[in-house]
Amino acid sequence: MTAVVPLLQPLLELLAQTDGWTWLRVLAAAAFYASALAAVGGVLFRLVFGGNPELDRAAGLRTLVPATAGLALLLLLLQWPLQAGFLGGGTLAAALDPGLLALVFEGATGQRLLLAGSGLLLLLGSEMALGRGRGLDTAASQIGTARVLQSLPGLLGAALVLLSFTLVGHSTGAPRLLLASLLLLHLGALAFWVGALLPLYRISAPPHLSQSAGRVLQRFGQVAAPVLAALIAAALLLAWRLLEGWSPLLHSAYGQVLLLKLAVLALLLGLAGLNRWLLVPAFVARQALASQRLRASIVCEGLLVGLILLLTAFLTTTTSPTG
């Protein structure tokens, strides 16, 4: 124990320096990440697993994507005055200062705001268009090609939202193309996972849908494996490039928070494995309490993902790979 405290000194110092206004920024960023990734992931979920109208209705994608996209848009806008406020010393007056707001908007943050905002508006608009056409296109939407074509505006919106993350922050250094590509791969895979949690939770409930839901759950387990592998590989490569080696993992605040993320990720992978090899087969076999256990596990996954996003927001808001 006595050896651990000096080792954690960089992280403890960082925590001591983090004021209330910064914590507000961290929370807003974390909530933005969660809602934006859920909106993007909802589009991906429909593309890969949609096509059964009854399951699509049960999954609630028609409300999930616009609701999360709308929330993400509000949180994106909120980050603007929060950042201006921090720059001015952490006051409400600074948050509303036109000069500071203009300064924040002029730079890469403004570009990200416009790009992510455009993407989120496209997501909202595409969902509204899908909603209007749903009565006529229900049969067509079950056909893969038609589903892809219907999803194109949403996919474009999703791509813009993901791209916006590469405009600001630690991945904007050299080599830019490599770092941005790794970040896109990492976020795309994460969005796929985050966006699937609520739909999978919802389709696991109705007993009359258990057969078709079971098929989706099994397919998700098969698709998620390479997606998770890509997520982890991209994350490790990104960390290695940003930290310029592995020794800062132990000796810098950034590295120590990253280690915490990895620990939570390990728990998440354990849960994912439990789902794939125990809980989903029990659900498909219609064992007693299988649905409740699977849903409880998905809730735990959601909480762990939330913790990872909070740690990420803390990392991106308070420190940098070079300290």
């Binding site: 300064l103 730079g107 416009l114 405009l167 630690h170 904007t172 050299a174």
Partner: protein
Amino acid sequence: MSRLKTLLKIAPAALALHLLLAAPLLHAHAQPEGSLPAHGSTVSGSPNRIAVWFDHPMRLTLFEVSGPRGVVPINPAPGREALTRFETSPATPLGPGKYTVRWRGLASDGHVMADEIYFTVR
């Protein structure tokens, strides 16, 4: 009306693509390189100059010197233009005690930066 609806649908995407193509590919993640007085140093008598410098341009939005008697007026104050070195002077000589220089700024990669520097006047 249908043309207007089409335009409204593609406008966000067109704007977004324009921004993506127009955005500079390299943004500098500015780091502080040093300060005057140096962090943690003890100086004999009031310093005439207080400065910080960076490896890439930084737009300083806050630069505050505080000590045993509170916030110290400085001249000049930062003007929010992008610079690699900011230098100022205390409006009145600093008495003995521990002083904190607190600054915040915006690097060109959009990253908000902040730091605190401590020095002691003997």
